[in-house]
């Protein structure tokens, strides 16, 4: 009898991480800047997890992910500032629109490797252009200001510390969802597809359907993250949803470790901190990313998770930690 996915999820490491992440804003309460940083990291962690699902587990190079992030942010911003939609409705609409965008893009799953990567890259460019050019709808390069703080159950979530718990809940829900997916037949199909697509097809797995599902699920996640970002900052503009963000997200997955969920979270935190810290260096800060991408791909393609896994595999494992969890 296979162990249920929930039993697998509640490992001591996961439980400790959940408690620690829930306690973080209390520990950092003294500095509003740290809380702001923490919230930003949480939004990007959502995106990095979503991209980990597509790129890491699916082996599908989605290079336009930030565009879908933008679809969510713009939908939420437009509906709440111009049509007075309440937050929950705008949030759901953001996810729906992002999924609709993925449906429009979905015919490209027929394409193989390089052509697929090219198509996603170009799709991202088109979305970025739309955000910049379709001024009547998106306000062009100026973007949106004054996006209201969300109101939930009659309470306005204004305090960044409270907002963190909203993000935390979303992130945890997403993590559990992806964990669940990976420990289901779908996860097995993903693994088979990654290893050998042709063999996978001949075994009767509908690869096209698996890929479309991946795109739709990850886009819904990006849409949700976009909506949460818009309502958090109250301000959005096109550069946040362009190629540079797609690259930053790619970095998060690669640095954290391809096919590692905790890796994506760590990657998101590290990259956001690097972006914040190097902004003092001015306009050349991005070169750090370029060099890091090249070096990681050349010397440590498994990322930080691979490094950590290599170290812990050598250490003796205490009995009370139970058997090592296996992710497909």
């Amino acid at each position: 009898m296979p162990i249920s996915w929930l039993r697998r999820f509640w490992t001591p490491a996961h439980a400790a991480a959940v408690v620690a992440l829930a306690a973080l804003p209390v520990l950092l309460a003294s500095s509003p800047y740290y809380i702001f940083l923490l919230n930003t990291i949480a939004v990007f962690a959502m995106l990095a997890l979503g991209l980990q699902l597509v790129l890491g587990y699916g082996g599908v190079l989605q290079l336009g992910y930030a565009g879908f992030f933008g679809l969510g942010a713009y939908t939420s911003a437009i509906l709440s500032t111009q049509h007075g939609w309440p937050f929950p409705a705008a949030f759901l609409a953001a996810m729906v629109v992002a999924v609709a965008g993925a449906v429009v893009m979905s015919p490209i799953v027929r394409l193989r490797d390089v052509n697929f990567a090219m198509a996603t890259f170009v799709f991202g460019l088109i979305l970025e252009l739309v955000y910049n050019q379709w001024s009547a709808m998106t306000n062009g390069p100026i973007g949106f200001r004054g996006i209201p703080a969300p109101r939930l159950f009659g309470v306005t979530v204004l305090d960044p510390q409270h907002y963190y718990y909203l993000l935390f809940a979303a992130l945890l829900a997403e993590y559990v969802l992806i964990f669940r997916l990976l420990h289901s037949p779908f996860g097995t199909a993903l693994r088979a597809m990654r290893e050998n697509e042709t063999a996978c097809r001949t075994s009767g797995i509908d690869v096209t359907r698996v890929k479309v599902t991946l795109l739709l699920v990850s886009s819904a996640i990006a849409g949700a993250a976009g909506s949460l970002l818009a309502h958090m900052n109250g301000f959005i503009s096109p550069p946040t949803f362009g190629w540079s963000t797609s690259v930053a997200l790619l970095m998060m997955v690669v640095l954290g470790g391809v096919r590692s969920l905790p890796g994506a979270l760590v990657g998101a935190a590290v990259i956001r901190l690097v972006i914040e810290r190097t902004s003092v260096l001015g306009q050349h800060s991005n070169i750090v990313f370029g060099v890091a991408l090249v070096l990681f791909m050349a010397f440590l393609p498994t990322g930080l998770a691979g490094l950590a896994g290599g170290i812990t595999a050598k250490l003796p494992r205490p009995a009370w930690l139970g058997p090592r969890s296996v992710t497909p």
Partner: protein, 291 residues
């Protein structure tokens, strides 16, 4: 009518730039399977080097084309030799593609560091000037660009068809393993591919920077050469040439008659439609590329 003629010339001139970059892009893809995201940025570096040479030495345009091309060829070779070749042995294509994105970021930031953020205009003698001949505005620069572009393409075709090295290159692109068994030094051919494509990108950079401006984000124009390569059936040199010219025309005419704000969107949408409808490209036969 004269308006349309001007548009045609301009479209073809821009298109020949796309072609030059797209050819290199296709050659690299054919030889190594790599989607080289830093290739448009090599074109940008070419435009920048051209600017520096033009302001310091005032050398004539053809010489500028060659010098800048050589410099970028060397750079392209270095990136392959020390960036990609060690990774090729590991054989993870996805990782290599991600590494090219890293190189793209590095090149852009090096350009920012060396040349600054402001768009740089080439000195006066290099700038395009319109002349009216019999009521038609002719920009000699555009004609020259078209000529240089076409001449490079013809030279390339001859090189691929008539020389032993050219045939070895084609064989390597067709099937690296078989080529190696036939005694072709595959790694050397790949180096040559990067050199040649770097040269074309560097030259194209000078052409485009002289009519627009030289700036770190010039690579964005080069990105459209991806579209040209796809249009031509990804990986076919002849197709990339035609693809570039077609894209230049469609985009220029589309910008004039439809909307200039949306001209990039037109080009990109076309690219996706072509990928979906005719992955073998405009010229390719349906059987030439199974995917």
């Amino acid at each position: 009518m004269s308006e349309l003629l001007g548009l045609l010339v301009f479209g073809l001139a821009i298109g020949s730039i796309y072609s030059l970059v797209a050819i290199g892009f296709s050659m690299i893809y054919r030889a190594t399977g790599l989607l080289h995201f830093a290739h448009p940025d090599l074109m940008m570096i070419g435009g920048m080097i051209g600017y520096t040479l033009a302001t310091r030495t005032a050398m004539p345009m053809p010489l500028l084309f060659v010098c800048s091309g050589l410099a970028v060829a060397a750079l392209s070779w270095l990136i392959d030799r020390f960036g990609f070749r060690p990774m090729r042995r590991q054989g993870a294509l996805l990782n290599l593609i991600i590494a090219t994105i890293g190189w793209s970021i590095i090149l852009v930031n090096v350009a920012l560091f060396v040349w600054g953020t402001a768009p740089l205009s080439y000195p006066e003698p290099y700038l395009p000037k319109g002349r009216t001949i019999a009521g038609i505005v002719i920009v000699p620069q555009n004609l020259a660009m078209l000529a240089v572009g076409l001449a490079s393409m013809v030279a390339l075709q001859l090189f691929f068809a008539r020389t032993v090295t050219g045939q070895a290159l084609r064989a390597t692109a067709e099937n690296p393993v078989a080529a190696q068994l036939m005694g072709i030094r595959v790694e050397r051919m790949m180096s040559l591919t990067f050199l040649l494509s770097g040269f074309l990108a560097g030259g194209a950079g000078v052409l485009v920077a002289s009519i627009v401006y030289a700036n770190f984000d010039l690579g964005l124009i080069g990105v459209k050469s991806f579209a040209a390569a796809v249009l031509g059936g990804f990986g076919q040199v002849g197709g990339a040439m035609v693809g570039g010219l077609v894209l230049g025309l469609v985009e220029t005419i589309g910008a004039f008659y439809v909307s200039s704000a949306y001209k990039d969107i037109i080009a990109y949408t076309l690219l996706i439609l072509i990928l979906l409808g005719r992955p073998q490209g405009l010229l390719g036969s349906a059987r030439s590329r199974p995917d």
